[in-house]
């Protein structure tokens, strides 16, 4: 399992969707969760950076777990996901500030997502509000973006959740470039006040 965490943690950093210490990942195994340590560098994970704790209840390892443990638990309890990747992809975050949803215009994005919900909450880090709003959305979508904060992607395995994260950022880049080039409607459909999800 460590190898998987190391591989995709490093890729997230190399692809520029995480900064040095941002983001977190987890895997569910029955009633246990394996999650990255609070403050760890996803690009340089060691055995000590993978923290095992309960799906439902806390134990002593909770003091080491990622700050977002509450959100990961809520997602696992509210969806069939077995893996979660949380990242801070800059293009997706930028678009989330002006859109209620991110609607792909490129073939890959349309194929994978159709639309990516943007969720707005007052507090975006480890808050009860996020834990309440995000799981129902991820029950229907592979990935969603917390406005101004970052993406949460789910899958059966880490690679899947990683893929949605990587693909979302690529899609957002296309939207941005297309808008810069004057492509009509590149941003129009996802603007605030018009969510379709």
């Amino acid at each position: 399992m460590l190898e998987q965490f190391r591989k995709f943690g490093r890729e997230l950093f190399l692809q520029g969707v995480n900064s040095s210490h941002s983001g977190n990942m987890s895997v569910r195994m029955g009633d246990r969760i394996f999650i990255t340590r609070r403050g760890s560098m996803l690009s340089d994970l060691t055995e000590r950076d993978i923290i095992e704790t309960g799906l439902h209840g806390d134990d002593s390892h909770i003091v080491l777990a990622s700050t977002e443990i509450k959100i990961h638990r809520a997602i696992y309890q509210g969806t069939s996901a077995l893996a979660i990747v949380h990242a801070h992809p800059p293009m997706a975050i930028a678009l989330s500030l002006i859109c209620d949803e991110i609607i792909p215009i490129d073939t890959e994005g349309i194929y994978y997502f159709k639309t990516v919900p943007v969720i707005a909450t007052e507090l975006t880090v480890g808050s009860d509000e996020v834990a309440e709003k995000l799981p129902p959305v991820l029950g229907n979508y592979r990935i969603a973006v917390l406005r101004g904060h970052g993406s949460f992607a789910v899958g059966q395995m880490l690679e899947e959740a990683f893929q949605w994260t990587s693909s979302l950022e690529a899609t957002c880049r296309v939207i941005y470039f297309a808008a810069q080039l004057g492509f009509p409607g590149a941003l129009a459909r996802g603007k605030q006040g018009e969510p379709s999800w």
């Binding site: 340590r37 609070r38 403050g39 760890s40 000590r48 950076d49 806390d58 134990d59 002593s60 390892h61 909770i62 003091v63 080491l64 777990a65 990622s66 700050t67 443990i69 509450k70 507090l123 880090v125 480890g126 808050s127």
Partner: protein, 595 residues
């Protein structure tokens, strides 16, 4: 004094009965803040030549500029004196609500000297102090004493008192406040007992003035968000209390057992926070103004009380080879009731158990014997029977028994629940602590175990001198404010500076707090040196320096103190012998001592 501080302290001479206020200058308060810093300054200015049990030895209760404001955990106070256990200048701090009541009496500190002709207690109000007769309380336990005084003085009154241990001058005696909270370490309860002072009760109504309430509320709101977002302060400590560390530290091979003969304990799970929560927890509790709430109200063995905390679980459990949670909880209740420091008591009994194991004390207790532990706690408090041998702590006991190497202490203060062979920075922190074997002076547990602010290699000595100094300084400042150490899990230094600025109306930056901390640290050091406690005492028990850990993650390691200590001295601006240079003393504007 306009905001935050009250600008004066109350002085009581128990020998003469004289009571009076003295002013505190703005400069002194800005330089030392309050709590530990102010207390150390007030003790130090009376000179290092005073013996701990001399009537002239001052006992100082001190609060901070943020005490009794809405700032989180701002209900604490410090107790400072010269310790009879270590001979050093010594501060202990405690939560509950005593600090709030004392501050509302309109003072930043209470300085007690002298010795009463008969047992007394001090009643502090807005109008000053009144010395009251306490013959009827002498010999009583902490709960009875507290209840009796509260009944006499009113529900709002908050009581800090000693139990029989303090009366009988056990060098491990604590001062207990609000029944269950403790200024536990260093035997300051014995100093109080030597003055025939059974208790101090405070009940005040004077409000603390805040310079910029709007700004303070904003910083507090922000602080609470961080506290809530951090799993340590929002889940770990509230749900399991400090005992959450038992399993964690044990897994890391840094949970000492059987007087540090081992670095993990087979019965750890039985005495863990998880087990405590499941089996003996009645409810959670918080000190005044605390949003974390790590205190536990528990029931075990037909007794009810608070705790046990992580350190107490270790000292009365693993250190003594006891893995029965009920026994550990009962021992903890008993220590609180008779007014004993759980860490020093458990550690000293563990030392005695090894003395028995190795044939140095044939009538000593045996590892794992919980009933004997309970018996010994009573005897230590009464300084009676075998307790007479142990009441002066492990260093004196082991020396008398001809086996000084069995005492797990630094400067006479028993070490707490971390085996530094698996935590090099914590080892340096223990060795250089001004009050002896204390985990909270530097508390490198945060970066070495909890990854706060970032995880460092706990087995490496690299960078540890600099980190140790950094934390010793900022912690001294936080102890002077007086805030709880656990707040630092969630808040960076600048939050403390911002709250202090908002309350006092004076501009403080985080580097100003570090400077205050450095000043306090160097003053403590200079005082200790003048007391004859030299750099040679900056060391650890031989076992930790020479005996390799036999199993677990720290296998094959000792503390590599010789690599860290010279660098530490140099980075402190001290001589190779660990003495602050004249330049350092001058830079920090410290008083100088003869000696």
């Amino acid at each position: 004094m306009a905001y935050g501080w009250m600008g004066r302290y109350l002085e009581v001479d128990l020998s003469t009965g004289r009571v009076g206020y003295k002013e505190l200058s703005e400069e002194l308060l800005t330089h030392y803040l309050g709590g530990r810093g102010l207390g150390v300054r007030l003790v130090a200015e009376r000179g290092p030549g005073i013996q701990p049990f001399s009537p002239d030895n001052p006992l100082v209760f001190a609060v901070g500029p943020l005490t009794a404001t809405p700032a989180p955990t701002a209900g604490r106070f410090s107790l400072v004196s010269r310790s009879p256990l270590t001979g050093t200048i010594f501060d202990a701090n405690s939560g509950g609500r005593f600090g709030v009541q004392l501050k509302r009496c309109g003072v930043d500190a209470l300085v007690i000297t002298g010795k009463a002709p008969q047992p007394v207690y001090l009643s502090i109000t807005d109008r000053g102090a009144e010395i009251k007769e306490a013959n009827h309380l002498w010999g009583e336990g902490v709960k009875e004493t507290t209840d009796t005084i509260v009944e006499a003085e009113g529900e709002e009154a908050s009581v800090a008192c000693i139990g029989p241990a303090g009366e009988n001058a056990s060098l491990m005696a604590a001062v207990m406040n609000d029944t269950h909270r403790a200024c536990a370490r260093g035997g300051l309860g014995a100093v109080m007992g030597s003055k025939r002072l059974k208790a101090v009760v405070a009940r005040g109504t004077i409000p603390v003035r805040v310079a910029d309430r709007e700004r303070l509320d904003f910083v507090i709101r922000e602080s609470r968000r961080w506290i809530k977002a951090n799993p340590v302060t929002s889940r770990g400590l509230p749900f399991f209390g400090t005992a959450i560390l038992v399993n964690l530290i044990n897994e890391l091979g840094a949970f000492p057992a059987l007087n540090f003969q081992r670095s993990n304990f087979e019965g750890a799970e039985n005495i863990s926070g998880e087990n405590l929560t499941e089996n003996i927890l009645l409810r959670r509790k918080a000190c005044w103004g605390c949003p974390i709430g790590c205190a536990r109200v528990t029931e075990a063995g037909g007794m009810r009380g608070e705790g046990p905390e992580y350190e107490s679980i270790w000292a009365l459990g693993a250190q003594c080879g006891i893995d029965n949670l009920e026994t550990v909880a009962k021992a903890n209740y008993l220590c609180n009731q008779v007014g004993l420091d759980t860490i020093s008591t458990g550690s000293t009994v563990g030392c005695a158990m090894e003395a028995r194991q190795r044939g140095y004390w044939p009538e000593g207790p045996i590892f794992g014997d919980g009933e004997d532990l309970l018996r010994l706690i009573r005897e230590i408090a009464q300084v009676d029977g075998r307790g007479r041998e142990l009441a002066e702590g492990s260093r004196r006991f082991a020396q008398r028994r001809g086996a000084p190497e069995l005492a797990m202490e630094v400067k006479g203060l028993e070490l707490p629940a971390y085996d530094p062979r698996g935590l090099q920075g914590q080892g340096l922190g223990f060795a250089t602590s001004n009050r002896g074997g204390c985990h909270l002076r530097a508390y490198l547990v945060a970066p070495e175990i909890l990854g706060i602010p970032k995880m460092v290699d706990r087995f490496s000595t690299r960078d540890k001198p600099g980190l140790t100094i950094f934390y010793q300084n900022i912690n001294a400042a936080v102890d002077s404010l007086v805030f709880c150490r656990f707040l630092q899990f969630s808040l960076s230094d600048d939050y403390f500076a911002r709250m202090l600025s908002a309350v006092t109306g004076k501009a403080f930056r985080s580097q100003d707090l570090h400077l205050v901390g450095e000043r306090v640290w160097n003053l403590e050091r200079s005082f200790n040196l003048a007391c004859g406690i030299s750099g040679e005492e900056d060391t650890l028990p031989r076992r930790l320096l020479e005996e390799e850990v036999k199993e677990g993650p720290a296998r094959g390691r000792v503390v590599y103190l010789e690599k860290m200590l010279p660098l530490y001295y140099r980075a402190r601006g001290w001589s190779l012998e660990g003495v602050p240079t004249k330049e350092k003393v001058k830079d920090l504007n410290l008083p100088t001592f003869k000696g």
